[in-house]
């Protein structure tokens, strides 16, 4: 009788016969779609591009949309503070605050209106909503009916046995940014633990599927690990375009954009260690009194103000960090607590979404 998994009987050790080969598989076909009235399955991180383009990730569909909002009727300039933002948005969407998730907030630099990605509903029929807050405090749901878009699907996950149809993999998008004609996307899988960062030229084109890189960081003379980039911000270091990235394991790392060539394995330089039990949420760069700073919100370590002047010269951290933090130092901004969303409003203010005992509020805060 044969059992379902006859392990021991008739087993053949593969030691003698195994060979390793590297297969040069053909690149998958690009999946660029152009159209009107996009139907997003979900909405996650946002990015603002030039000429009225708003980039929105659809994590459930592993797709990035470029939405042409240039024909939208403008709201009053600015973003007005709103108390109980979650309740106000939920009410506008016809539901309760407990039923919505605010996924991201980005300020459109021209109008200074805030665009907020919201998932309405927690269950199987959860839907994506794009909401705008203007200078009069008006909350509008941006209808995507009639909005022109292009979209690009992120590469399919590898599958050695696609006909099996039992993959439980999903891909979430954790951060999106636009800089120098490219959309940068950081993603996390619910299975393999790898750092994937895509850079995709915009306008999206069938000829350019984008670049996918694996990013490593050295933490130790001996150990080198792969870890997902969670949040990042484009920033120029000594005239060279870089991404400043925060990893899941808390180091702050820089790497030049020029290293993001197709299929590259990129080694980032660890310039700061930011401690345990923490995850970065958002990062912005701003100038004040002649110096530039990185402002970073975190899940459990507050908002950090990090001077960028030493980003170019900081020695890479390659030794284990025994206590506290290491590398570039930061200041914790005590006036900004429980910040869930952070973006720049103008040269002197940030916009934050912060949680307090009385609810979730949207407010402009002077840059520290």
């Amino acid at each position: 009788m044969r059992s379902k998994l006859p392990v021991a009987l008739a087993a053949v050790s593969v030691a003698a016969v195994m060979s390793l080969t590297i297969a040069a598989a053909p690149a998958p076909k690009p999946a660029v779609t152009k159209g009107v009235s996009p139907q997003l399955q979900s909405i996650g991180p946002l990015a603002i591009g030039p000429a009225g383009v708003l980039y929105a990730s659809d994590p459930s569909a592993a797709t990035i949309y470029a939405l042409d909002l240039s024909k939208q009727k403008a709201g009053a300039p600015g973003t007005k503070d709103i108390q109980a933002l979650d309740q106000q948005i939920a009410a506008t969407l016809g539901t309760a605050a407990s039923e919505i998730t605010i996924a991201d907030l980005k300020v459109e630099p021209k109008s200074k209106n805030s665009y907020i990605a919201v998932m309405r509903g927690q269950g199987a029929n959860a839907a994506a909503a794009l909401v705008r807050v203007d200078g009069a405090g008006k909350i509008d749901v941006i209808s995507l009916d009639g909005v022109s878009f292009t979209s690009i699907a992120l590469p399919n996950a590898p599958d050695a046995n696609p006909a099996n149809g039992r993959s439980n993999r999903s891909q979430s998008v954790t951060n999106l940014a636009f800089a120098n004609g490219k959309v940068y996307v950081a993603g996390l899988s619910n299975e393999e633990f790898a750092s994937k960062l895509w850079s995709i030229a915009y306008p999206f084109s069938s000829a350019d599927r984008g670049t996918s890189v694996e990013i490593f960081h050295g933490n130790h003379g001996r150990l080198e690990t792969r870890s997902p980039v969670y949040a990042f911000v484009p920033y120029s270091v000594k005239g060279e375009a870089n991404l400043i990235a925060a990893y899941l394991c808390t180091p702050l790392v820089k790497f030049p954009v020029s290293s993001l060539t197709p299929g590259a394995k990129v080694r980032g330089t660890t310039i700061a260690e930011l401690g345990a039990g923490n995850r970065p949420i958002d990062m912005v760069v701003y100038a004040k009194d002649g110096s530039e700073y990185l402002l970073m919100s975190n899940t459990s370590r507050g908002v950090m103000k990090i001077p960028t002047k030493d980003f170019g010269t900081q020695t890479a951290i390659t030794e284990p960090v025994k206590d506290g933090t290491a590398g570039i130092t930061y200041e914790t901004i005590k006036s900004m607590t429980n910040v869930q969303q952070l973006d720049l409003l103008d040269a002197s203010h940030s916009i934050i979404v912060a949680k307090s005992p009385t609810g979730v509020s949207l407010q402009a805060v002077a840059l520290p």
Binding site: S13, E192, V321
Partner: protein, 371 residues
């Protein structure tokens, strides 16, 4: 579907001939609020106005509370009524407050204000979703275990698990900061499996969180994974009961997966018997579903995968009978064991010796013969 028109007392609200009703959803149309009894000249005037020209917010609005902003959607006048069609389907069981103020009509009414509360019926259900199992099924985990999958009996909500899952050690003390504080969507596409990451910053040696706090699991200790029943399912209901899972932590596994230690048991030609592969250590259950396949003459063979006890066995049952000759087992380099180690490449050390040249990963092959 029941009737929906209801006022505060459960009956239709009517004043001065005005009637507010909720039309139930149809297969191609959402539930909508309809106001009848408005005179034809007023309706015609409203229809002639541009959508933003009519004073909708003061004339006719639907809100989740009397003082809440108007629910987004289409407020329009038809030949016979005022109608509101929401941008998103109305929630079952939620009260929606309708306000019609007819003093804003072209010909104001004597008793202008009409209010009503409408509600879609909600099916009352008892909580029934449960935790079906924890993966890995092997209750002996290495202390550098990277992730745990939680499978549910039915689809769950989008809520992150971090607030509902606790790791308790054998002294009854909760291990703080054990899991990655992430609200990213770690559900599988049908929301029946959640991936719980042990904080990799603590799991990996030599980096700050690990140096500060050590690994969340310590070899030689026993633990309990406790899952609160407050975690909501796709219907918004809590779990039918909390869930507890006991396991033990053992020595860390810090070597890459060694394919030469795998044992292949090829079935006989002419049968559809299961090809069985045995590994000396537990591999990641999720990746076993898609990181291993079978080829013949360079073409993938279709079949069904089964994963055996403790994730140390992988079975492949072809849809068509095996034929005599050469086959190859394909192992994608993304395959990981439960501690994140890959084929020939441990989690914590990377040789950095080569660059992936395509978005598709490298593959390893193990030839075998069917006789």
């Amino acid at each position: 579907m029941g009737a929906f028109a209801c006022g505060r007392d459960g009956s239709s609200e009517a004043a001065d001939g005005i009637h507010v009703s909720l039309v139930p959803p149809a297969p191609t149309r959402r539930a909508r609020v309809v106001v009848t009894g408005v005179d034809r000249p007023s309706l015609n005037a409203l229809r002639a106005a541009s959508p933003s020209g009519a004073p909708w917010d003061s004339l006719f609005r639907v809100g989740v509370a009397t003082d809440a902003p108007a629910v987004a959607g289409r407020y329009v006048a038809t030949d016979t009524s005022l109608e509101f069609e929401p941008l998103f389907p109305l929630d079952a069981g939620r009260d929606y407050f309708v306000r019609v103020d007819l003093k804003h009509l072209a010909t104001p009414r004597a008793q202008p204000l009409v209010t009503a509360v409408v509600r879609l019926p909600k099916e009352e259900r008892a909580p029934s979703t449960t935790v079906a199992r924890i993966l890995p099924t092997n209750p002996d985990l290495p202390e550098n275990q990277l992730r745990i999958y939680i499978e549910f009996s039915a689809p769950m909500s989008r809520q992150s698990g971090v607030d509902f899952v606790h790791l308790v050690d054998d002294r009854g003390k909760e291990v703080q900061h054990a899991f990655l504080p992430l609200d990213a969507d770690f559900w599988n596409p049908d929301h029946t499996r959640y991936t719980l990451f042990l904080d990799p910053g603590r799991v990996k040696r030599g980096i700050l969180p690990n140096e500060q706090m050590g690994r969340p699991l310590k070899a030689g200790r026993a633990y309990m994974l406790v899952i609160d029943s407050a975690w909501r399912d796709a219907n918004g209901l809590p779990l039918a009961k909390p869930f507890r899972y006991q396991f033990r932590a053992g020595a860390a596994v810090e070597q890459g997966i060694n394919l030469t230690s795998w044992r292949v048991s090829p079935p006989r030609a002419g049968t559809r018997d299961t090809l069985a592969i045995a590994f000396p250590r537990s591999l990641d259950h999720g990746l076993l579903q898609r990181a291993i396949g079978v080829e013949r003459n360079g073409q993938p063979i279709q079949g069904d995968i089964s994963i055996g006890a403790a994730e140390k066995q992988w079975g492949f049952t072809p849809r068509e009978s095996w034929r005599s000759g050469d086959y190859r087992l394909i192992v994608l380099s993304i395959l990981e064991d439960v501690a994140g180690n890959r084929v020939g490449r441990p989690f914590e050390v990377d040789m950095f010796e080569r660059v992936d040249s395509t978005v598709l990963p490298e593959r390893h092959t193990i030839p075998f013969k069917i006789r």
